[in-house]
């Protein structure tokens, strides 16, 4: 393909986009909508993931010590354990204060202080990984001086279960949406090729090479895909930014903590842009191919 042909193809795509402006805009719009939803899901998934991680990492292992056991010994062992993220020590006195506070600070636990304190000393331990909690708990319970280890087996199991469910759900919906979007682009462009089938036929009779025919369609499809994706990314970014900042101001902050880390958000947006452009180009390619057999 020489330079004249190349320039002709470029010009041709522009002319064609302008002459079929309505169709181009609708196609771009449909790409924008499907990618918005897809992108919205990815953002939701990232946030849900982080939320679950937050909850999971808050799962505490309660280590209750026997009366008179050495606090220092246990502390050293915990320090050395590689799977432990951090821990806090709650002495029996602090435990009692917490308890009385939980009753509204109104009822004085007279007669339970000092030697009468029925509560044990307690380490609240956090693991690095939620999955490791059960094994760490088992290890700790073997330490000398540890009376009881408690970590809410049910809650952890439940959270892992929910995570699994939600991930599957997101995956299914995302695949469905991506499928729909691709099917759509293929159909749209196949129909637009179909509408120009006569034209393509005539071009072939005049001896136009396959690339000479294909190229304008590809450029056209990629432009549509790219425009749609750009619109989707812009809309998503704007909505997400507003939502995130309003959430951060809300009292709910600690409940739903929006992800604002650009190193985790950027890949989503870049991925969407690439996906849209590729979808446009690839959709055109597949559609055009069919009509290029002589």
């Amino acid at each position: 393909m020489n330079i004249n042909s190349f320039r002709y193809c470029m010009r041709q795509s522009v002319v064609s986009l302008r002459r079929n402006l309505w169709l181009a805009v609708v196609t771009a719009g449909i790409i924008a909508i499907s990618l918005s939803i897809l992108g919205g899901f990815l953002l939701l998934a990232v946030n849900a993931d982080q939320m679950i991680r937050n909850i999971e990492s808050n799962v505490e292992i309660g280590v209750f010590l026997e009366d008179g056991a050495s606090i220092e010994d246990t502390r050293q062992k915990l320090d050395r354990h590689p799977g432990i993220h951090n821990y806090t020590f709650v002495s029996k006195e602090e435990g009692l204060r917490d308890f009385s506070r939980s009753l509204g600070d109104r009822v004085l636990l007279v007669g339970m202080e000092g030697e009468n304190n029925p509560l044990p000393d307690l380490f609240r331990v956090r693991a690095n990984e939620a999955e490791e909690v059960p094994s760490i708990a088992a290890e700790i319970s073997a330490y000398p001086g540890v009376e009881l280890v408690d970590y809410g087996e049910e809650l952890v199991g439940r959270l892992l279960n929910i995570t699994g469910w939600i991930n599957t759900l997101f995956l299914v919906i995302s695949i469905l949406l991506a499928l729909g979007a691709i099917l759509l682009i293929i159909t749209t462009i196949r129909l637009s090729v179909l509408a120009r089938q006569d034209e393509v036929g005539i071009m072939k009779y005049l001896g136009a090479s396959n690339w000479f025919i294909r190229f304008p369609f590809l450029l056209e499809g990629m432009t549509m895909g790219w425009t749609g994706t750009l619109a989707a990314a812009a809309a998503l970014a704007a909505v997400y930014y507003r939502l995130a900042s309003s959430l951060q101001q809300e009292a709910l902050t600690f409940f739903i903590q929006p992800v604002t880390d650009t190193t985790r958000l950027l890949p989503i947006f870049v991925g969407l842009l690439l996906l849209g452009t590729l979808m446009g180009g690839f959709g055109s390619f597949i559609s055009v191919r069919k009509f290029l057999r002589v």
Binding site: N4, M203, G207
Partner: protein, 229 residues
């Protein structure tokens, strides 16, 4: 230049072959009329030479090349050497008259400068310079046909294949077009015309190949539309 040996064309689903056992040879620089009643196989023969259709039997050569065995790239080369005037015009609806004619050169990768020179020249030859900016569906039948002719001649082809080029033209326009073809022919271009315009065929006294029901029934140098004529 063009050579057919026992060529047969049988369309799928048809009882009789559209062309049966045709053998003929056309030399570079000849001027040939294809005549015959409606459905005789004239268009089919032209489509075979253009390789729009493949023969179902026999051998065909174009410049010593086997037309039936052309690869994708060679097929493009083959078609680029031929200027084709289609019976149903086949203009690009989305392009203006100028763009339609220019397209034949753009396909060949010719520079814009050459295109800007040659297209108006060709349009002038068929008398349509003033319609250059119209779209095909704004033209009369005869005007569309002449755009098709302009597109075929603009690229100075080796061969011009014209299927019924005067079907929508009045007497004067038909005569002018034939004069144009004769001039081009004198420059060495082979010209093959399928036509029903008996008056023209009789007047021009060129080689006539007559088909009927898919058979070649006559091949005369300096012949007429009918044998008796």
């Amino acid at each position: 230049m063009i050579q057919l040996n026992n060529v047969t064309k049988q369309y799928p689903g048809c009882a009789d072959p559209a062309l049966g056992d045709i053998s003929l040879e056309i030399e570079q620089g000849e001027f040939v009329f294809l005549v015959g009643p409606s459905g005789a196989g004239k268009s089919t023969l032209i489509k075979l030479i253009f390789r729009e259709q493949l023969p179902t039997g026999g051998r065909m050569y174009f410049n010593q090349r086997n037309v039936t065995a052309l690869k994708q790239k060679e097929l493009l080369e083959h078609r680029r050497k031929i200027g084709m005037v289609f019976q149903d015009f086949r203009l690009l609806k989305q392009k203006t008259v100028f763009e339609n004619v220019a397209f034949a050169l753009e396909v060949l990768g010719r520079p814009p400068k050459e295109i800007k020179e040659k297209v108006p020249e060709a349009l002038d030859k068929v008398g349509l310079l003033d319609k250059a900016r119209s779209f095909p569906d704004k033209l009369s039948g005869g005007e569309q046909q002449r755009v098709g002719v302009a597109r075929a001649i603009v690229k100075d082809p080796l061969v011009i294949l014209a299927d019924e080029p005067t079907g929508n033209l009045d007497r004067d326009n038909s005569r002018q077009l034939m004069d144009l073809f004769e001039t081009i022919n004198q420059g060495g271009t082979t010209i093959i015309i399928a036509t029903h315009a008996w008056e023209i065929v009789d007047r021009m006294k060129k080689r006539v190949i007559a088909l009927d029901g898919g058979r070649m029934i006559r091949d005369e140098q300096r012949g007429g539309y009918c044998h008796e004529h």
